[in-house]
Symmetry: C2
Subunit: 319 residues, 2 copies
């Protein structure tokens, strides 16, 4: 069985822990297609927050409390950069994490595509999942927003980390998306999948930038496999992060139904066939989608694996 | 009084502490023209060992025991890079130090010349001395040597740090020297100097690459100011480092007289007018040079300042 998962950062990473645990039971191989819209240059190194969150989490090296970055992290370089007055000072650049960025930057500058760099980094972390960036090309999420300093647009990282999503925001733009191509392996993975899962990641800034890669959304809608989404919203609030603020920007209610409607049914031009919502959202309805409820709190790997099993079961019921 | 000092790394840095202390007493401003031949790209960042040794030492931030790098240093990034298998693993890349390299690399990649980068970094360290790289252009010292892996040439850093200067070595080459230009300010500093001091740095791989910048040696030999050299060899052994091994490569005896002869008298095509040797080398003779003996152990700033005073006095005696 071949499972493809569209995933963002921390939510996607934790969901993939459950997918991997489930796959170990049933014998499946997993390809994760990961958002790169958060990627940014900081202090001259290339940061890929979502790929790293997935890689560290699956590699058992993620900080369990913070969610992002490495466990046992130190911040010496960050504090020295601040002593030089080097911007940005608001970005959490850990010492351990920085080594990843240095290796990646050096390989990128030597001409390796991000997919090859990711594979090389994963040789250390052995995530047990094939990690593919959605694209090897530059695709960055920017917010069109009113910044305190008068700017009218800002990289998503700055919008999110520095401004905590608390500036008047008109919309998100995926810079470079028009000319981006799916990374090698992405289209084949979708075409050959037995099941596609959309992780409970931020639909607006994690899943949407993946789908913004030309050809990728078409490959998803044309896939023979059932596509099952998992709601990132439980009882009207995001499982974690600030999906509520992102959903508000695009005018979508912060509810399981709202996100389901944003994704839409494949039969009607959307991307899903079925949709798993939390037990507390039982009774949710999304036109054209088979909706089922199950516990969606990813409290531990076992709970997450059970939630994945429910999504797999829902896919089978639909088929 | 305007003093120009030609300097390499640790020996040059400690000597400059004494020059600064002496200058504070007599009211002089100091320009240090620093070797860049040790500079290298490591892990995608630009390392300038000599400029940094001088900057950290004069900024009160150098590790007093190791001599190079920052006091209170940690090595998290280095050990993480090694865990990725990223080469080189033999290079001592400290976490605090790395912040300097990141700021420098970012500025270099943005198009700033090394001299401007150095000035920006010094805004933090306030060395009390104007630090100028000998050149803004790429000039790297390589050793033509028989490496264990079959290579026949190697960057000086690798020759020095990884191979401890213990491979059969034919000669040193200053890669890029032919097309290098003196950094802005270097020629003017030499032309306007009241005194030029050649620090007790490694003559073969610290001072020679400075003089290899076309136009720089000519400016030195044409300078109106007296040029006084300070011997880096005391009683037949280098004050620190491996100058003996470098001198052996160029066939010069590891003695105060040997180095004095290598520099030579300005009147005879060399670069010095006078030469200060250690008290234990009293009686040393170098054709064409006024030679005087004084204690040259740079045990502390006061001892070093006294040694600088002796060099200044020697310059006056000659004039």
């Amino acid at each position: 069985m071949r499972i493809v998962v569209l995933a963002g950062g921390i939510g996607g990473a934790r969901f993939l822990l459950g997918v991997r645990a489930h796959a170990a039971e049933v014998g499946a191989d997993i390809t994760a297609v990961v958002n790169v819209g958060d990627d940014a240059w900081m202090h001259g190194v290339r940061i890929c927050p979502d790929l790293d969150s997935v890689m560290y989490t699956l590699g058992g090296a993620a900080d369990p409390e913070r969610g992002w970055g490495r466990a046992g992290e130190s911040w010496t370089v960050k504090s020295e950069l601040a002593a030089y007055g080097a911007e940005p000072t608001w970005f959490g650049l850990g010492d351990k994490d920085l080594a990843t960025h240095l290796v990646r930057t050096r390989m990128l500058n030597a001409g390796y595509p991000l997919s090859a760099v990711t594979e090389a980094l994963c040789a250390r972390w052995q995530p047990g999942v094939r990690l593919l960036p959605a694209t090897d090309d530059r695709l960055e999420t920017h917010a069109v927003a009113e910044l305190p300093d008068g700017r009218r647009a800002v990289h998503f990282q700055e919008w999110w980390v520095r401004y905590r999503a608390e500036v008047p925001t008109e919309r998100f733009v995926f810079v470079g998306a028009e000319s981006a191509k799916p990374a090698p392996g992405v289209l084949d993975a979708l075409a050959g999948a037995d099941l596609v899962l959309v992780a409970p990641s931020n639909p607006v800034v994690s899943i949407a930038p993946i789908l913004a890669v030309p050809g990728l959304r078409d490959a998803l809608t044309a896939a023979a496999a059932p596509v099952v989404g998992v709601s990132p919203i439980i009882g009207g609030a995001p499982v974690r992060g600030m999906a509520d603020k992102c959903l508000a920007v695009v005018g979508v209610p912060c509810t399981a139904e709202g996100v389901g409607g944003l994704y839409g049914a494949r039969a009607e031009g959307g991307i899903l066939d079925a949709y798993l919502v939390d037990s507390s959202d039982e009774g949710a309805r999304v036109p054209g989608l088979a909706v089922r409820a199950a516990p969606l709190w990813m409290t531990d790997e076992r709970a997450t694996a059970a939630m994945v099993a429910a999504a797999v079961d829902l896919a089978g019921a639909r088929g």
